[in-house]
């Protein structure tokens, strides 16, 4: 059975649609995560999405909805308690540790498929049902629309908060909205690569793009392209090698792009 056979199957098509959507949203938010120094916030949100997914699985057999609830909860907590950058990281650390413990506790009550836990942690894009795909599409569209609307003021507020505030940008409110967008994006990405590996799509492509250009528009575009190559490339590679999870390929491709960008970067990037 070759790749062509799989591409005619509904499960593979669903996976590719979901993967593309996830890559698009991750690529869009990535540069902001990097510029705002929020890599740890992404990781913390993802860990709590795991707790939420475990809860969702147990209560309603719906890990996606559970993950979303968990991610939104942590976004809310960070926005209330972690206004200052340094405080933010310790707050995230505290919640992350407790949340993971809770997740393991919840999973110990789960009597369903034994693979459920691994799927939450490392992704299960081929298991996405039609209903879940609908939810993922809705979330992805929401993130894309919000990000395209807020792109310019959010960049201004992230790079130069003081002047942005003086020019009338609601810097604090934008920060909260971005945390919510992050929660939605993390929930999406967790479906493809799992909660443990979200950073490979939400950070790595943007970090690689940043190595290659100082132009924010170019960085944004490259970040999306890199995320797409990693996500879709990883899915296709996994279809071709059935026994290995797509997240393995996604993280490997994403990492390879980063290494290449680091090597090529100094020659391409304009320096003063």
């Amino acid at each position: 059975m070759g790749l062509g056979f799989f591409l005619e199957q509904a499960f593979a098509q669903h996976a590719l649609i979901a993967g593309t959507l996830v890559a698009l949203t991750c690529g869009l938010i990535g540069p902001f995560v990097v510029v705002r120094g929020m890599a740890f916030a992404v990781h913390g949100t993802a860990e709590l999405a795991f707790t939420g997914a475990a809860g969702g699985l147990l209560v309603a057999d719906n890990p996606v909805a559970g993950a979303l609830v968990g991610a939104l909860a942590v976004a809310g907590i960070i926005s209330v308690l972690g206004r200052r950058e340094r405080e933010r990281d310790s707050v995230i650390g505290v919640i992350l540790a407790f949340g993971l413990g809770m997740g393991v506790f919840l999973l110990s009550f789960y009597r369903g498929f034994a693979t459920a836990a691994t799927n939450i942690l490392f992704g299960d894009i081929f298991g996405v049902s039609r209903g879940q795909l609908g939810l993922l599409l809705a979330i992805g569209l929401l993130v894309v629309v919000v990000m395209l609307t807020l792109y310019r003021p959010l960049l201004f507020a992230s790079v130069d908060p003081e002047v942005a505030e003086a020019r009338g940008v609601h810097v604090g409110a934008l920060g909260t909205v971005f945390l919510l967008v992050l929660a939605f994006t993390v929930t999406e990405a967790a479906q493809v690569v799992g909660t443990l590996l979200v950073l490979s799509l939400a950070i790595t492509p943007a970090a690689a793009a940043q190595r290659l250009s100082a132009n924010p528009v170019t960085v944004g575009a490259l970040s999306i392209v890199f995320a797409l190559v990693a996500a879709d490339g990883g899915l296709l590679a996994s279809l071709a090698h059935g026994s290995i999870k797509p997240s393995v390929f996604v993280t490997a491709i994403s990492f390879a792009i980063y290494v290449l960008a680091r090597l090529a970067g100094p020659r391409l990037k304009a320096t003063s």
């Binding site: 510029v35 395209l148 310019r152 130069d160 020019r167 009338g168």
Partner: protein, 291 residues
């Protein structure tokens, strides 16, 4: 002045001040920061705002930006109460360190001054590019416009800040310690650039600073804030032993050394003169004076 187009809403009627404060009082958390402030700033005027830490210099700028409401009295900018996000006011902050890897070039920082606050994507048009290039030329920053901001010197960054603030040709330019952390030659460059522009375009400048000396040649009037009290007038009238001792409520000596004005507390005259114009006494005393 005709060379500098100004948006009609930012135009100041002839003979009218750009900024007018009447009996303006600002309080914060039950404490009065300054009280009964009367001030009118004319187009093209250079006003330096001096005073110890905590005297409410930055807060004054925030009031003019529409970010802080007054506790009492009135404030007008271009004949209207200030409100958040009006493009008619330019703002230059203190120089700060950007990450060297930050994916923002000099011209991107300047571009924010044009439409950074508007929703949507940062799409470049020929018209925008012309305006940004013009602004970069006017501060002589074309040579490093495409370099990442995090790799530029403090002086270069502040030139870009000025281009950013002046891109919309505001009638009022607010500067919050734009020279601090710059070396002496960059301080001179940046302040002469601001002076040049306000003369060409009739821009009123309100310049908050710790140190009057770098801008002394340009300053028309000084607003000196101390512990809720204030004094306004020419530097010759305000920067005197009598006026400042009055204002601080404690003996202060103003001395001129080689064309520089130095303010020292009378008790410390025997000791080393305090370098910065506002410093009075030991940190503990200063807090009493400022608070």
């Amino acid at each position: 002045m005709a060379a500098w187009r100004r948006h009609a809403a930012c135009e100041v009627a002839p003979g009218r001040p750009v900024v007018r404060l009447q009996e303006a009082t600002l309080g914060h958390g039950g404490r009065t920061i300054w009280e009964g402030l009367n001030l009118a700033v004319s187009p093209g005027e250079f006003l330096a705002v001096l005073g110890p830490n905590g005297a409410g210099k930055t807060s004054l700028l925030k009031v003019l930006l529409g970010l802080f409401p007054l506790t009492a009295g009135t404030v007008e900018v271009h004949g209207q109460p200030p409100h958040r996000g009006r493009g008619c006011v330019g703002y230059v902050p203190q120089q700060r360190a950007f990450d060297p890897d930050l994916p923002i070039r000099g011209r991107d920082l300047v571009e924010f001054g044009l439409d950074g606050h508007r929703f949507g994507l940062p799409i470049m048009t020929a018209g925008k590019r012309r305006r940004i290039d013009g602004a970069l030329r006017s501060v002589r920053a074309t040579g490093y416009a495409d370099a990442p901001v995090g790799r530029l010197s403090g002086g270069e960054q502040q030139r870009l800040r000025i281009a950013q603030a002046l891109l919309t040709n505001p009638a009022l330019l607010l500067c919050d310690e734009p020279l601090s952390s710059l070396d002496l030659s960059h301080q001179r460059e940046v302040s002469s650039l601001i002076d040049e522009r306000r003369r060409q375009a009739g821009t009123a400048v309100i310049f908050v600073t710790h140190e009057i000396n770098p801008v002394l040649p340009y300053v028309d009037r000084v607003l000196y804030l101390v512990a809720g009290r204030w004094a306004v007038g020419t530097p010759q009238a305000i920067m005197t032993t009598g006026r400042l001792s009055d204002l601080y409520g404690t003996p202060v000596e103003v001395v001129e050394v080689g064309g520089r004005i130095v303010v020292v507390s009378a008790e410390e005259i025997a000791g080393e003169p305090l370098e910065q114009g506002h410093h009075i006494g030991s940190p503990a005393e200063r807090e009493q004076v400022g608070g």
